[in-house]
Amino acid sequence: MIVSIRQRLADAAYEWSLKRSPRLKKLTLSQRRIYIVPSRSGFLFLLLLLVMLVLAINFQNNLMFAVTFLLASLFVVTILHTYANLSGLTIQFLRGHPCFAGEQAAFDLLLTPQGQRQYESIQLRLGQESGSAVDLLDDQPVSLTLYQTPPRRGMFQAGPLLIETYYPLGLFRAWTWVQVDLTTPVYPRPVKGGQLSDLNSVGSGDQSSTDQSERPGGEEFNGLVNYQPGMSLKRVAWKHYARGQGMHAKEYVELSDHHRWLSWALWPELSPEARLSRLTWWLLQLHHGDEAYGLDIPGCHIPPNRGEAHRLKILAALACFGLDGVSRESDLAPSAKPASQVGVR
């Protein structure tokens, strides 16, 4: 029963803590936000003090009294130290790194100490993930990356951030839950399968409108350009150079209508999510190839192109297909609440 009461108290504290925390890009911890209660070992310590007190009373031993009171004062002083180990700490939420569904999304944070104060053994974690501990000893900001597993594809908002510390003696736990203002796209999980070879034959209405065009990076020689530092040495026109005509680089272009479409209509037998997964896998394959590719799914049409930016654009489109909201950790299992945080585990 005690466990359930403790659980309920922890849940209530969690809810209340979140309600009081607006979503911010940057916040400084203060007494309005930091909660502190004795940890499980703190209660054990109090029990120990009680035993000592009974010993002291029964043996009428004043030195025993002295040590008991010294440890009791230590207990009280520790409240301040544990609290000071969080207060004044500034947390900035920098960025989220996209990931594929089923992987862990990474979020970058920056912790800045207040003035010259030192912070030790601060544990941070997002939602229910395992966290990491950080020290801020030489009044320099420390950046760290926390991970969280998104429940599904789509835009994912990082779950509440738990910042807690037991420092210095583990007698108290100071903690706070903070709403995190960081979102990142979660791409569909790539699943291998199907064939793309007959893709081009699939009548794509836009094929005619996409004329033969020149794209850099193809195989057709287009001419020479002035060499710029950083260009590949393989492309240097050494013959011209040897003739003393200066350093030039050969430029190739792609003269082709070889572009492929990642189309919704490819695998009609699959469910939408499975189609998205397969499209994602083929997207990754195509990205390594030489051909241009475009996306054609209901509500989204991206003309063929190449390059990293193009890839990310398509991935984002795949991620958000059919979703308009932002997913949160709590979407995974609405009833899953943080386990009781009190005490040493």
Binding site: L55, Q60, L63, A66, S73, G115, Y167, P168, L169
Partner: protein, 682 residues
């Protein structure tokens, strides 16, 4: 197991140090095999730490645990429960060491370490021990700190500093609690016997017993007098009386023992018992005694105690008794008189104090009879006895051994050498043989005055035995000390001076004997230390005896509200100070250049000072426009700054120069009115 909860390697070192520190005071208390076990466990753990060995198999651990339990149960036969309990704690403590992987395991060890530190005060309470315990606490807390810090932080001394700071901040609160927390009586009766053995008087006295005590320089008790001290030759401290002689040793008779048993069970009587009339010339002395534990029920008092604490009982022979054996140092106040005491004895009592074995020591009895025939009254008899002792006898700490039977005859007529015990027992035998009621009194004579605090310290080697006889003419008990005529110096000098040539004197405390502590300077040092020690006993170890008086003086009346206020107010003050020191906003230290720039900002005022995001170069450019008269200076400053910050080999004078220019500019800036850069210059 999450790495977060694994024990850091640096905490392992601290843990081993803590364990050794906490166990050290117990070396002479718990059985030595436990220590061997502890060292083995620590060694094993060290090997695990270095990666050489692995943790012992669980079967081994269980086996060792059972063996230890069996050993401790066996120990129970000849040790006190307290020792075995502590032994159990230590065993749990070191065995846990061999199965320690995680944070929680370390916590168990550290919490037991706290408990063991507290328990060590059952056995030792000296100042050095208290300081040592404080040190142990700091180390154990440092170890607790390492358990909770992150793995990457391996600075080995940092936890110690942190722990010391914590204790410094906790100390004021502790003092407040110590002073204010009400001391209540024991919640239940505990076995105070911690297995220690005591030196001191015992309840039987054979002639050699007292000389055994002179081997020890241990303190028996200390006394502080309110008024002047009694003269040195009147400092007879009554311990107990022996009224029954069995031919060999003097004992307390069953009557006396029964009486003291009944007395301690009786209801408290008014503190002042009605004694017989005291001799008119006697003076009353008021004094406090701090008595060392004896393991016995009697308490020492000067000659005839008159007033004594309510928990004490006084029995027929005016000795003081308490219900419990004295297992811990105690403190009490007494008032005593010195001199003869008037008391009417019943016939039964007179018979009781005339008791002698039916046979034995025939020559002594004859001698007594002869003196009775020669002398007309008791005064004459005692005078003759004393002159007999004064004439032929020698006082020594190492008298020849006496045979079992007729030992007093042998002492009186053959060896004629002895110690106070011999003289007292021979004297009482002679008096009783002459029909004069008498008894042997055991106690101490003398005491060393400490000039630093005026406290009289009485040591074991000042143990003494004398006799009392009852004079039927004035119905009074009189003290008689044969030693005073055999060795008059014993009354004038301290025992230390008198016995310094005797080889057996202080044989057990060579440090005192060899004059190591008797040189003038060292003696002073020792006296100072003893004065501190006395205050330690009075104010710390016996604080519970003084607390109520102290609080009454501070608070007027002691109420719960008052006590709580006394704890809360100073406590809050101390804690706020700690909080301020912890939470104070501390800016990064500025170097000279930054300080100079800040100074410039101050004299520029809010409109012109450096704006957020403005580089120093831009700042000076803007200033050159705003203050055309100072353009040259600002350009120099700008150049200077760049060199200070970016030049590879910095001219060490540059920062000073930078500062000097700013100092020179400031008054000029204050005089000049800036041209608004936004306005086109005219």
């Amino acid at each position: 197991m999450k790495p977060l909860f694994q024990l850091a390697r640096s905490s392992m070192i601290w843990l081993l140090v803590s364990i050794l520190m906490v166990m050290a005071p117990y070396i002479s208390i718990v059985p030595s095999w436990l220590f061997v076990l502890a060292l083995l466990a620590v060694g094993w753990r060290l090997m695990v730490y270095r990666g050489r060995w692995s943790f012992p198999h669980w079967g081994v651990r269980v086996g060792v645990m059972l063996l230890v339990l069996a050993g401790l149960v066996a120990e129970l036969r000849h040790s006190s429960v307290m020792v075995v309990t502590v032994g159990l704690l230590i065993a749990a403590f070191v065995l846990k060491l061999t199965e320690m992987y995680r944070r929680r395991d370390a916590l168990v060890i550290l919490y037991v370490a706290f408990l063991l530190i507290v328990c060590s005060f059952l056995f030792y309470q000296s100042i050095p021990m208290a300081l040592y315990s404080l040190l142990s606490l700091i180390v154990v807390t440092a170890c607790l700190n390492t358990v909770y810090r992150s793995q990457q932080n391996n600075d080995i001394w940092r936890p110690l500093k942190r722990s010391a700071v914590l204790y410094m901040q906790a100390l004021p609160m502790m003092l407040i609690l110590f002073l204010i927390f009400p001391r209540i009586g024991p919640l239940w009766q505990v076995d105070m016997n911690s297995g220690q053995s005591f030196t001191g008087l015992s309840d039987s006295m054979s002639p050699g017993d007292v000389s055994r005590l002179t081997r020890s320089a241990e303190i028996a008790f200390r006394a502080r007098f309110d008024d002047p001290l009694p003269p040195e030759n009147r400092r007879y401290w009554r311990g107990l009386t022996y009224d029954q002689f069995d031919g060999r040793a003097w004992r307390r008779s069953d009557v006396l023992v029964a009486q003291s048993r009944a007395a301690v069970k009786s209801k408290p009587k008014p503190q002042q018992t009605v004694l017989g009339d005291l001799a008119p010339n006697s003076q009353t002395y008021h004094y406090q005694v701090v008595m060392e534990p004896t393991g016995q029920r009697w308490r020492y008092g000067l000659d005839t105690p008159l007033r004594y604490p309510a928990k004490f009982r006084q029995i027929e022979d005016w000795t003081l008794q308490e219900a419990q054996p004295l297992m811990q140092r105690t403190q009490y106040s007494l008032a005593s008189r010195i001199g003869a005491v008037r008391e009417a004895l019943s016939t039964a009592q007179i018979d009781h104090y005339l008791q002698l074995p039916s046979t034995g020591n025939a020559k002594a009895r004859q001698l007594a009879q002869r003196w009775v025939a020669e002398q007309s009254d008791i005064k004459g008899f005692t005078a003759q006895m004393m002159s007999f002792f004064a004439r032929d006898f020698r006082y020594t700490l190492e008298p020849p051994l006496l045979q079992q039977n007729d030992s007093i005859d042998q002492f009186l007529f053959q060896s004629q050498q002895g110690f106070c015990g011999h003289f007292a027992s021979a004297g009482v035998l002679l008096l009783r043989a002459a029909g004069i009621p008498a008894r042997v009194v055991g106690g101490y004579l003398g005491g060393e005055m400490n000039p630093v605090d005026g406290v009289l310290t009485v040591r074991q080697y000042e143990a003494h035995a004398w006799l009392e006889y009852w004079d039927k003419e004035d119905l009074s008990w009189h003290r008689l000390d044969p030693t005073s005529v055999v060795a008059p110096l014993r009354l004038e000098q301290s025992a230390a001076q008198l016995f310094s040539n005797e080889p057996s004197f202080l044989a057990d405390s060579m440090l005192m004997r060899n004059g190591f502590l008797s040189g003038a300077f060292l003696k002073q040092l020792r006296q100072r230390y003893e004065a501190i020690n006395y205050d330690w006993h009075r104010w710390v170890l016996n604080f519970h005896e003084r607390q109520s008086g102290l609080l009454q003086r501070w608070l007027g009346d002691i109420s719960v509200v008052n006590l709580l206020l006394m704890i809360m107010l100073p406590g809050a003050l101390v804690l706020s100070l700690v909080a301020v020191s912890l939470l104070r906003r501390r800016g990064a230290p500025k170097d000279d250049v930054m300080k100079a720039l800040a100074q410039l900002d101050r004299c520029l005022g809010p409109k012109q000072q450096r704006r957020p995001g403005e580089t120093v170069g831009q700042f000076f450019d803007r200033l050159s426009l705003a203050f055309p008269t100072l353009t040259e200076e600002f350009e120099t400053l700008s150049r200077c700054y760049e060199q200070i910050r970016y030049a590879e080999d910095l001219n060490p004078e540059l920062p000073q120069q930078f500062k000097a220019i700013i100092v020179r500019c400031c008054p000029l800036i204050l005089k000049a009115s800036p041209i608004d850069a936004a306005r086109p210059a005219l």
